[in-house]
């Protein structure tokens, strides 16, 4: 036991003596949170939409008034006058404008005659975010224009009443669980992967191997130290990230306890996985080369950025065994939904079993000799 503590002591002294590891493991996730949180969270504004009006009737004027209202209020787009539909199409194609509304001849007459009036909308669908946003705004305009001037006393159509369980979740808040997981992954990758292999290559481990330390003491000493480092990274990022994203929920004692439990089991799971991957590696270049591959393989299938429900079957299969999935689900449940232990109990169980399981597989693979 004392020998295991000596390994932990050495690792922790080293960790605190070179704060670069701590800073670097936090820097990238924080930058990601700030940049992606602000870049992806905002609404589309300031796009340019051409209006080609072949009608010039009263109903066409109503459309243009609605567009002017959007340009002044939500500012999704401003309008540009075009005379030629073909020119408008060409300019959408070449990116000079983002969309073109075509108001055909006889549009106003068809509205009054209830003769299937149509308005054309040409959009650059290679950019789904912009085109989706413009389409959504256009649909709102069309719905408003289609609504009868005098509402019937008794509604005949079915209406959907949406009840939002939680306050508005902006993108930075949505991204925070993934960012915490990423910080812990980077800490484990640097502390448990790169430094571990560097120590091996430099001969530090050779020094351990000539002492009477047992394989169990060495493996568990190294992994406990790795888990402590990842836990510290996780705690730091949870606090810093929550403050940045404006999540005051972390000041609730019960939530803190849930977060601590989740961070702890995530550290064990990530560290066990990393140790299993690195247990027979000797080349210091390998963990560096694996860094990006693992990041892509584990982070994106976890539902961090996109819902798992939208994945094809093979990608869903990865997400089922991916510890990131449970870690991010757990953080979302605590930070965004305040779901309590009941919401994260399966995540805690999976991560704990995953961590211990990978360690149990890695221990016999660990060579007590060179």
């Amino acid at each position: 036991m004392n020998r295991m503590l000596a390994i932990i002591e050495r690792e922790m002294r080293k960790f605190f003596r070179s704060p670069t590891l701590m800073i670097m493991s936090l820097m990238m996730p924080i930058l990601q949170l700030v940049i992606m949180g602000n870049a992806f969270g905002g609404k589309i504004v300031g796009t340019r939409v051409a209006v080609v009006d072949y009608d010039h009737g009263p109903q066409a004027v109503k459309i243009r008034e609605a567009f002017d209202s959007i340009a002044v209020n939500v500012k999704t787009f401003t309008t540009v006058e075009y005379r030629d539909e073909n020119q408008a199409r060409e300019d959408v194609r070449t990116g000079k404008i983002d969309g073109a509304v075509i108001i055909p001849e006889q549009y106003s007459r068809r509205v009054y005659a209830h003769d299937a009036p149509r308005v054309g909308f040409v959009v650059d669908n290679s950019d789904q975010f912009t085109s989706g946003s413009l389409e959504s705004e256009m649909q709102l305009v069309v719905n408003a224009l289609s609504a009868p001037a005098i509402q019937p006393r008794l509604a005949t159509s079915i209406a959907l009443k949406v009840v939002e369980l939680y306050p508005y979740v902006n993108y930075m808040k949505f991204l925070l669980p993934a960012t915490i997981a990423l910080a812990m992954y980077i800490s484990v990758m640097i502390g448990g992967g790169m430094l571990y292999i560097d120590d091996k290559a430099r001969g530090v481990h050779e020094g351990y191997l000539v002492t009477p330390i047992t394989k169990f003491e060495l493996v568990f000493g190294l992994n406990t130290a790795g888990a402590i480092k990842a836990t510290l990274s996780g705690i730091c990022l949870t606090v810093i990230g929550s403050l940045m994203a404006g999540l005051g929920v972390i000041f609730h004692p019960m939530v803190l306890l849930e977060l601590l439990a989740l961070i702890l089991v995530t550290s064990i799971a990530f560290n066990g996985m990393m140790f299993l991957l690195m247990v027979r590696v000797d080349d210091p270049l390998v963990p560096r080369a694996m860094f990006g591959v693992l990041n892509t393989l584990l982070f994106y299938p976890s539902g961090a950025m996109y819902p798992i429900a939208a994945f094809p079957a093979w990608l869903r299969a990865i997400s089922v065994v991916d510890p990131f999935t449970y870690c991010i689900h757990g953080f979302k449940a605590i930070l965004l939904k305040d779901g309590g232990f009941a919401a994260i109990q399966f995540d805690l169980l999976f991560l704990f079993v995953f961590g211990i399981g990978t360690l149990l597989i890695a221990t016999p693979l660990f060579k007590r000799t060179l």
Partner: protein, 346 residues
């Protein structure tokens, strides 16, 4: 195995053998890195494994220190079989591997304390033990310095202190002075000599420095291609080489006849052509051979550009047994100042 080795060692273990290696073999696939090696080391002895890079000496020391599994034969260290009871062996030995194993980010004292804990040195003794080894390696005033701030020689002393912190009976050092400047190297030699005297340590060291082996070791085993080719005290090994002196001569003009002419001189046992016009002559009488050589050159109208006479060294022993010269050794001091060897690699 040479006659010398057979006479001096082999299966006759000293009565109190600290290390006994019997028919030890190490194979990596089809490659045999160590081939049926036998030797033993008495308690309190400093034993050197001498050989060029890749000779198998580090593999030997790694097998003895439990770092790599033994393929065949056995090694008994302090009465414990390395294969059967490696933990008991680890408790009895201190090991200084080739690599620097101390953590550069930690201080000297922190490194020693951690290793004291790894060796289960009781808390009550730990501080005393660390102080003693720091004193022994003359690093007491550097105890609070981070290892990465120390010079190469000091870092090597930290390694030695680390290996001694649990007061081992047997000390293994794998090329302890490789990469050190001459002054640091001499300091390490003096320290090891002092440690042997004060701690009654048995030491086994590997080196490719002839001078180091000659100065430190009571006995030396020469290893080449995984085989023990000679074993004995430095004096015995030198005596076993034909010729008491080595004459090195360089003629201004190279002619193919020189080899034969030199071999006919009195007392000459072998002539080795090293490069164009440069010859290394083993002779039983350095002065006589030198005089004859100078006379011969004068008669033939040839110019001798350099000439030196030396006693037989371990270098000659090594060349005698392995047929090749060590590449990593420093230039030996010669009787006469030698110009650079023509055609020799820097």
């Amino acid at each position: 195995m040479t006659a010398v080795a057979n006479n001096l060692d082999q299966n006759a273990k000293p009565p109190t053998a600290a290390i006994a290696v019997e028919h030890i073999v190490k194979r990596y696939g089809d490659f045999e890195a160590v081939k049926d090696v036998n030797f033993s080391v008495a308690e309190g002895e400093i034993f050197g494994l001498l050989g060029p890079n890749g000779a198998g000496k580090s593999t030997l020391i790694r097998m003895m220190t439990t770092l790599i599994p033994i393929t065949g034969g056995k090694a008994i260290i302090a009465g414990h079989d390395v294969d059967k009871d490696p933990d008991a062996v680890r408790r009895m030995i201190g090991v200084i591997p080739q690599a620097l194993t101390s953590d550069p980010d930690l201080t000297v004292e922190e490194n020693l304390n951690i290793y004291a804990k790894l060796y289960s040195v009781p808390r009550a003794q730990r501080e005393k033990s660390v102080n003693e080894v720091l004193e022994a390696v003359d690093l007491s005033k550097w105890r609070g310095a981070q290892v990465k701030t120390l010079s190469g020689g000091m870092r090597r002393r930290v390694e030695i202190a680390r290996g001694l912190v649990h007061n081992p009976r047997i000390f293994f050092l794998d090329e302890p002075t490789t990469g050190l400047d001459p002054v640091s190297r001499i300091a390490v030699w003096e320290m090891l000599d002092k440690l042997r005297a004060t701690r009654n340590l048995t030491m086994l060291l590997t080196t490719h420095y002839m001078e180091e082996a000659d100065k430190l070791c009571d006995r030396i085993a020469i290893v080449d291609h995984g085989t023990l080719v000679a074993l004995g005290t430095p004096q015995q090994l030198k005596q076993n080489v034909p010729g008491a002196n080595v004459v090195e001569v360089h003629f201004e003009r190279e002619t193919p006849e020189w080899q034969g002419r030199l071999e006919k001189l009195d007392g000459v046992t072998s002539v080795q052509a090293e490069s164009a016009g440069f010859y290394r002559i083993l002779t039983s009488s350095g002065s006589k051979t030198t005089m004859q050589l100078v006379e011969l050159a004068s008669q033939l109208g040839e110019t001798v550009t350099s000439l030196s006479v030396q006693n037989t060294t371990l270098d000659d022993v090594f060349v005698h047994y392995t047929g090749r010269q060590l590449r990593d050794e420093q230039v030996k001091p010669a009787a006469f100042t030698m110009p650079p060897r023509p055609g020799a690699q820097p």
